[in-house]
């Protein structure tokens, strides 16, 4: 597991037992009437981290962000920012700023006035405000749009004004609520990298809420996966993908095949799992699974090899029939129905233009994978 970790850069305060959390949620619960939006949740976020809260709508991720910004107060538990308890501090006194999903640009103010709004509230001198606004406009490359009103801007430009406005006050923490949600796909991909550069150059702590796993994987140092107001896993993107700790996380991020079964035997790191039909697989990364446990072996489609003949020297191989296939250009996705009825997804990179081993609908096929290609999940 050591090979996994932050691929992007050597920044991992969460592995350092000495490091102090910058933002901590301590046993935070938030109820709206009968509905529990956040349930006894604890979470630590470190300084200068790019942290993503990922989950489906209604999982409580936006509520967490709003509690951090001060629009909602936790029902119980507390939130610390840089060691200070945030309870009772209104939004306008918190050293955090938020970029809203709708951007919330003031329609009656120019781009300049929007960006300078927070500085004006601080009572900053006029000349200083002008200077900072100019700096911000340059940062988001909107210098020639300073005098425009929000409705005179395109969607991407509005997004950048919202971003500039929320970082103009140099907040300790920038909160981003679905920051790219309103942009089209192409613009979204470009902007992801812009956001990452911005975070690096300003040295700010970013907390971003998103329902788009690709977005979270691309941008974040760590991801918290939320479901029904609870944290399912907090880890780096690579860990979340390669070493999910539960069936929910494995299924939530990316595509996955699950082999359900019972642990028949257990070694130091590997295990033998017997499926319902009696088929047996040998797997590594067995973790805490003990003999007799009901477990799932989760394996990603790209880690499964498909071939027309039985492969030699592989720990696990199963026979079936190609039931469906999709040619996507860069790769081909096979759906193989095993003889015990389970359908397995496998994807193969099309690294050469034509394969002599091409499989087609209803062909007999073998799937195979080495023991450590997936993880054993007990939860």
């Amino acid at each position: 597991m050591k090979s996994l970790g932050s691929i992007r850069r050597e920044f991992a305060p969460w592995n350092d037992p000495q490091a102090k959390a910058y933002i901590s949620f301590e046993n935070v619960t938030k109820r709206f009437g009968d509905f529990t939006a956040v349930n006894n949740l604890s979470l630590s976020i470190y300084e200068k981290e790019f942290f993503a809260l990922l989950g489906a709508s209604g999982c409580g991720k936006s509520t967490l962000l709003r509690m951090l910004a001060g629009f909602d107060e936790p029902t119980t538990g507390r939130i610390l920012l840089d060691g200070q308890d945030m309870r009772g501090i209104p939004p306008y006194r918190r050293p955090v700023n938020m970029m809203f999903q709708s951007y919330a640009l003031f329609p009656h103010m120019t781009v300049e006035a929007n960006i300078g709004f927070g500085l004006k509230q601080e009572g900053m001198a006029k000349a200083e405000i002008e200077q900072r606004v100019a700096e911000m406009l340059k940062l988001v490359k909107l210098e020639q749009f300073a005098k425009r009103k929000p409705h005179q801007l395109s969607g991407g430009q509005r997004q950048r004004v919202a971003l500039a406005r929320s970082v103009a006050k140099r907040p300790k923490v920038l909160l981003l609520d679905e920051p790219l949600g309103a942009l089209d796909k192409k613009l979204r991909e470009e902007t992801q990298f812009e956001l990452m550069d911005l975070q690096q150059s300003l040295g700010l702590t970013f907390v971003v809420v998103t329902h788009d796993q690709e977005e979270a994987m691309t941008m974040a140092d760590r991801i918290a996966i939320l479901d029904k107001g609870e944290v399912m896993q907090v880890a780096t993107p690579a860990e979340v993908y390669e070493a999910p700790i539960s069936r929910f996380v494995a299924g939530f991020v990316g595509n996955v095949n699950m082999f359900e079964g019972t642990v028949a035997a257990r070694d130091a790191d590997s295990a033998r799992i017997t499926g319902a039909s009696g088929a047996e697989i040998v797997v590594g990364n067995a973790g805490e699974a003990a003999a007799g446990n009901a477990v799932a072996f989760a394996i990603r489609p790209e880690k499964i090899k498909v071939s027309s003949r039985r492969p030699e020297g592989v720990a696990n191989a199963m026979e079936g029939e190609v039931y469906d296939l999709a040619y996507l250009g860069d790769m081909t996705v096979y759906h193989v129905r095993l003889d015990d009825g389970q359908v397995v997804k496998a994807s193969a990179l099309n690294s050469s233009r034509a394969s002599d081993d091409a499989l087609s609908w209803n062909d007999r096929a073998w799937i195979s994978f080495p023991p450590d290609a997936g993880v054993v999940l007990t939860r």
Binding site: G83, D85, G88, I89, P90, R93
Partner: protein
């Protein structure tokens, strides 16, 4: 040393906390003022007057200023108040039921308002329908032309009809001029004149909700119906009209409710025989100076209007839910 730093930190923390409590208290007070000022205003100038109307409707007529003996007053203390309950009388209400004038006025108000509402619907529906079908560039202008008369004085719009409808008026001149009739039509001072006045004055109230519900209707529904073999006329009755029903109900209520209590139209266009309850109340008050009876008339007028108002509110609530 670290202890000192910690306590200083704490002090700073609690200082900002108390400041924020103060500002919260201040904004809470402002928030309360936002509620209290209009609330008090409406209590004093809307609710209390109604209680007074109700109270006076239970008191005796007197020749004085004010021309009634108060039914309830706190001058004699709580004990006196209870004594007054005994003296309170429903005489005015009894009188209203005994005198056929009032009963007829109520019935005739409702009948006149009902007929006028139907006529307004008949006149307004084709206009709203035509507007909804107009090219979308033309629609805002048409809408403005419907709203514009709203802004001109009601009294003036009613007055304008006097010159048209009276025996030697423009309508009769025109009809006699083209030879359709020999003797002038007697429209002025009849119920027909009231119908015309109400239809004319309240037409925008009918057109606007009708237009709103017709405009948002998807025309491909009609095309689908015709595609499925439904001829245009029957497509109208089976598709368009049912879908516009919320607008029809809203429009009818917006015309019917104010028409029942209308005063200016029956007074100016209707004759002396025309009975409408708004006019009766006015006469009772200004001519007969009978405040208790006019108060009783007002109370019953409100009771009459509660049912249509509730229908209207239910329809509005449903429309709002559908919009969501």
């Amino acid at each position: 040393m670290s202890n000192v730093a910690l306590s200083a930190d704490e002090a700073a923390g609690s200082g900002s906390a108390s400041r924020s409590i103060l500002s919260r208290a201040r904004s809470a007070l402002l928030g309360r003022l936002v509620i209290i000022v209009p609330y008090l205003w409406l209590l004093i100038f809307f609710l209390v007057p109604f209680i007074i109307v109700f109270k006076i409707s239970l008191s005796q007529t007197a020749i004085a200023m004010p021309p009634y003996v108060p039914a309830l007053s706190l001058d004699d203390g709580i004990g006196g108040l209870f004594a007054q309950f005994g003296e309170m009388s429903f005489d005015n209400y009894v009188w209203l039921t005994e005198d056929a004038l009032y009963f007829n006025a109520y019935i005739s108000s409702i009948v006149i308002a009902g007929i006028s509402t139907l006529l307004t619907l008949l006149v307004g529906y084709p206009i709203a329908y035509g507007m909804a079908r107009a090219p979308s560039t033309l629609r805002p202008t048409l809408l403005m032309l419907v709203i514009l008369p709203f802004w001109t004085s009601f009294l003036i719009r009613v007055y304008a009809w006097i010159g048209i409808l009276k025996p030697e008026g423009l309508l009769n001149q025109f009809l006699q001029g083209i030879g359709v009739i020999d003797d002038p039509l007697l429209i002025m001072n009849t119920n027909t004149a009231i119908y015309i006045g109400i239809v004319y004055s309240y037409l925008p109230f009918m057109i606007l909700p009708l237009y709103a519900s017709l405009e948002k209707m998807d025309y491909s529904l009609i095309e689908a119906a015709q595609d499925l073999g439904c001829p245009p006329i029957s497509a109208f009755w089976k598709i368009t009209f049912p879908l516009s029903l919320p607008g029809v109900i809203a429009g009818c209520m917006l015309v019917f409710i104010p028409a029942v209590g209308e005063f200016v139209i029956p007074d100016l266009l209707g004759g002396s025989q025309t009975l409408m309850i708004g006019k009766t109340l006015w006469n009772e008050f200004f001519n007969n100076r009978d405040w208790p009876v006019s108060s009783a008339v007002a109370v019953i007028l409100l009771l009459l209007l509660i049912v249509p108002i509730m229908i209207f509110q239910a329809a509005q609530a449903r429309a709002q839910e559908q919009a969501r």
